[in-house]
């Protein structure tokens, strides 16, 4: 390991360990609240750190993640996931289906199948990275926001070529802008092949255009509608069917570089003027001058700055971080901050985290399946070697990672996730994890990797270390209800960790 990494590791270690006594002497429910919302749940280490630096500094650190050093172990584990660093063009080249025009050879069905099998590694590595970062990263808010924005601009990895690009989409279109400017995020998603393919804009062409095979192709409304309904204005944001069609015209030609075209860029995005509908347009009452690709940039920029967009994003953030039915006054303040900061996500979040409504909402949000699973692993203090049992549990609970088929993404409300089946499954997951029987601590077998959606999560496994109930009591003790504490006191010692992780208290954040 290079020296500077060692130094960084030492600094991280010191930062984490020095204030240990502070956390134990001053249990602070507000600290747990912050870690339940700005992070995927509290860990002993983060509680200590927060106790040492205080809430204000912690929030500022999290809003400026580049200032936080990552654990060397995480850096090392991520370094092994090589497909995370490939650009879309390279991913297509290495893992995409063979095309007849590449050397003129059409692959045999067997070859095509082999390539499809091989390509599964891309989504597997993306999912592994997501789990590792969510459980180990100290830049927790950044990871929370990656989860939020990926879901907001959802792409289903199971649709066609999107299995090639879902990971790159997260790495290159979402992560760099997760705390940045909304307009940049919107444009990055609009241009990424994952989105172009998922919502079909890659095919959206001026009526009467001839496709590569000589067939006539034309307009496709899909992306134009969803970008207004879901990504920006919101369904009641004041657009009409005429605006949908106008935006579809504006975005004609925004598509994918054909794989045999060698472009200087690896983004695989290409504006194809030959498929663009030139001419003046009117969009949302604004005249748009005929200017090719710039029309799309203008229209998306317009959407990013509309008051309805500010309100829609403010509502979603407040719903994610505060309450299923967020206080309208808070939503209005966040929307105002969004507008006067020109869509600066960091500024909006700062207003949110320092609001009274946020402070007073501790323990009121029901965890989504991924929040439940990840927070359990973090509290347990288990290092995840094998992420598949966790991915399997998320899938079984109805929230497969990269597996939301529809562009609206997963909901984050209690009404959407609380169900009789889910609660019995969550408790069963907690029990298995607490007993050390979830096989996450040893490497996955060499047997073919399970599909993310189909791995049976609760299979018996070689005995691991049971989770230490004392550790969990240290983290949650002061915030547990009397009912839960009473039950713990009467539960045999070996089941206490299970009772905490499966308690109603732990289902909320």
């Amino acid at each position: 390991m290079p020296l500077r990494h060692l130094a960084a590791a030492a600094a991280t270690y010191l930062l984490v360990c020095i204030p240990a006594s502070a956390a134990e002497s001053a249990p602070d429910p507000q600290a747990r609240h912050l870690l339940n919302r700005l992070a995927f749940g509290p860990t002993i280490e983060d509680l200590r750190h927060l106790a040492a630096v205080g809430a204000d500094r912690y929030i500022n650190e999290q809003l400026n993640p580049q200032s936080i050093r990552e654990p060397p172990e995480l850096i090392q584990r991520l370094a092994a996931l090589d497909t995370l660093r490939l650009d879309p063009a390279r991913l297509f080249e290495m893992y995409g289906p063979w095309r007849p025009f590449r050397g003129g050879v059409k692959p045999s069905p067997e070859e095509a199948k082999v390539r499809r099998e091989r390509a599964k590694i891309i989504v597997q590595q993306a999912a592994e990275a997501r789990i590792l970062r969510a459980t180990m990263s100290r830049r927790q808010l950044q990871e929370v926001m990656v989860d939020f924005w990926y879901n907001h601009f959802n792409v289903f990895a199971g649709k066609g070529l999107d299995h090639l690009w879902a990971g790159s989409y997260e790495e290159q279109a979402i992560r760099p802008y997760a705390l940045g400017r909304f307009r940049d995020l919107l444009l990055a998603t609009a241009r990424h092949p994952a989105m172009l393919f998922y919502l079909d804009n890659a095919q959206n062409s001026a009526p009467g255009t001839r496709g590569p095979d000589g067939k006539e192709i034309g307009l496709n409304e899909n992306y134009a509608r969803e970008v207004m309904e879901l990504h920006t204005l919101g369904v009641d944001g004041g657009y009409t069917q005429a605006d949908v069609i106008s935006l579809a015209h504006i975005l004609t030609g925004w598509g994918l570089a054909r794989p045999n075209l060698r472009l200087g860029t690896g983004s695989a995005f290409m504006f194809d003027a030959a498929r663009h509908e030139f001419g003046a347009k009117v969009f949302l009452g604004h005249p748009i001058r005929s200017s090719g690709e710039a029309e799309g940039e203008e229209a998306l920029g317009l959407l990013a700055r509309m008051p309805a967009t500010a309100h829609h994003i403010a509502f979603e953030l407040a719903q994610y971080f505060v309450a299923d039915a967020p206080p309208p006054a808070l939503v209005d303040r966040l929307a105002a901050r969004f507008r006067d900061s020109d869509g600066d996500i960091r500024a909006v979040l700062k207003t949110l985290f320092t609001s009274r409504e946020f402070r007073d909402s501790a323990g009121k949000k029901y965890k989504t399946p991924d929040q439940f699973v990840l927070s359990a692993v973090r509290a347990a203090g288990v290092a995840v070697v094998n992420p598949y049992p966790l991915l399997g549990a998320m899938a079984r609970l109805g929230m497969p990672l990269y597996g939301c088929q529809t562009p609206d993404g997963y909901k984050n409300t209690e009404a959407a996730w609380l169900s009789p089946d889910a609660i019995t499954l969550r408790i069963s997951f907690a029990t298995t994890l607490a007993a050390g029987k979830l096989p996450i601590m040893s490497p996955p077998s060499d047997a073919p990797r399970p599909q993310l959606a189909a791995d049976p999560p609760l299979a018996a496994a070689p005995e691991g270390e049971p989770v230490d109930a004392a550790r969990l009591e240290q983290i949650f003790g002061p915030t547990l209800t009397a009912q839960t504490r009473g039950t713990i006191a009467e539960t045999p010692a070996q089941l206490r960790a299970a009772v905490i992780l499966g308690s109603p208290d732990f289902m909320r954040r």
């Binding site: 062409s205 409304e221 088929q405 009789p420 069963s428 049976p456 609760l458």
Partner: protein, 407 residues
């Protein structure tokens, strides 16, 4: 004119919920059941029940139009004007036995082309109103005779859909290959601790108790059935297998009166195919699954109605990519032992440009709520007052819907 007279029914039917005993006595055979299958994403109904008799259909769909009956991979003839998508051949015997009907040009009066708003309106039963607190199937459950048990209504899947949200408890159960697998919570030493933790009146405790009760009623039956069915082989997944499991549950558990499942993958904006392709690949397992459901329920089929619907239809004209965009009117499927099938109900508005909704979509001539209300009335024996609670603002039914179910 009141709706009841309009449908030609006697005015003497009870308006208040019947007791379970009376219910059983009035029903011929077992308790009446309703199964709703929701196709999320807007299935292209014009390629499901194909108006092959109309030239405008082929003009609008040069690439994706399903061929006329008798042509290569053409539609399966239904009634001289409409044909069935060939991937639904599995349903043809139900049609021929007159146990399968369609209502064409049906849909919501709300004009939205948003999947998510439109789905919400189908599920809450109040088109145009977002804030209705419950789903119409939960309101329906409340209108069915007491007592209400934990498995009166079952949703297939790991979450509870809006359509079943509401005051009355509802069970949910994924029916994938692992459906009957034992869980730690089934072990007494574990459940003892959690029974105490979840003993309050809060939403989590209620869900917990409901989940435990549903597992107790359903999992045992399912486990033995699945052991017999697979005989050690890998268990099949997909809708036909899940439908067979649902049929088994319904056959074993006389309490199940309402069931719900949803299927995705219908949002075919690109290359939807015609006789073969994307839409066909989704229709085939649906048709086979519905046939499996009908077979599996067996003797209970006469007491069962299955409704298949979607949030809206798709554009009449194919788009620039051999797909279809979001439209309006669609087709509703109705199956069951008491259905007067073999017939396409509703008023067909035609596909000429002047006949289309906003010059682009199949018009809605039958409100989806009136189709459901006709089933609730004729099959489940509900009265006007109950119907008004389930579907506030319900418009009068089209005349021929009253004939869709045997009295």
């Amino acid at each position: 004119m009141n709706r009841r007279d309009f449908l030609g029914l006697s005015a003497g039917a009870a308006l208040a919920p019947l007791s379970r005993a009376v219910w059983a006595a009035t029903a011929e055979g077992g308790p009446k059941r309703l199964i709703v299958i929701f196709l999320r994403g807007a299935v292209d109904g014009l390629n499901v029940v194909v108006p092959y008799g109309e030239r405008a259909y082929y003009d609008a769909r040069p690439t994706i139009g399903v061929g006329r009956p008798g042509t290569d991979q053409g539609a399966l003839p239904l009634d001289g004007h409409f044909g069935l998508h060939p991937a639904l051949a599995g349903l043809l015997s139900l049609w021929n036995d007159k146990k399968l009907a369609f209502v064409h040009a049906a849909g919501s009066p709300d004009p939205t082309r948003s999947h998510f708003d439109a789905q919400l309106f189908i599920e809450n039963g109040t088109p145009g109103q977002n804030y209705t607190p419950d789903g119409w199937m939960n309101r329906l459950l409340a209108a069915l005779p007491e007592p209400h048990g934990p498995t009166d209504a079952v949703s297939v899947g790991s979450t509870l859909p809006r359509i079943l949200e509401g005051r009355l408890p509802v069970a949910n159960l994924p029916l994938g290959p692992d459906a009957a697998k034992p869980l730690p919570i089934d072990r007494p030493e574990i459940s003892r601790a959690f029974d105490r933790l979840y003993s309050g009146n809060d939403s989590l405790s209620e869900a917990y108790r409901q989940g435990r009760a549903a597992r107790a009623e359903l999992i045992g039956d399912l486990a033995s059935e699945m052991r017999q069915a697979d005989n050690g082989a890998p268990r099949p997944s997909g809708f036909p297998a899940e439908a067979a499991r649902l049929a088994h549950l319904i056959g074993q558990d006389a309490h199940i009166r309402l069931a719900f499942a949803s299927l995705g993958g219908w949002d075919t904006h690109v290359n939807q195919g015609k006789a073969q392709g994307q839409l066909a690949n989704h229709l085939r397992p649906l048709g086979d699954g519905l046939a499996a459901l009908a077979r599996g329920i067996g003797a209970g089929w006469d007491d069962t109605v299955v409704v298949v619907l979607s949030e809206f239809g798709r554009t009449v004209h194919e788009n620039g990519n051999a797909g279809t965009d979001h439209g309006h009117g669609n087709v509703i499927w109705v199956l069951g032992g008491n259905v007067r099938g073999g017939r396409v109900y509703g008023d067909w508005p035609g596909l000429a440009t002047a006949q289309l909704y906003q010059s682009r979509d199949l018009a809605v001539t039958t409100d989806y709520r009136t189709v459901l209300a006709a089933i609730l009335e004729r099959h489940l024996g509900l009265g006007d007052r109950q119907l008004a609670q389930i579907f506030p603002g319900l418009p009068p039914a089209r005349s021929n819907l009253g004939q869709m179910l045997a009295a």
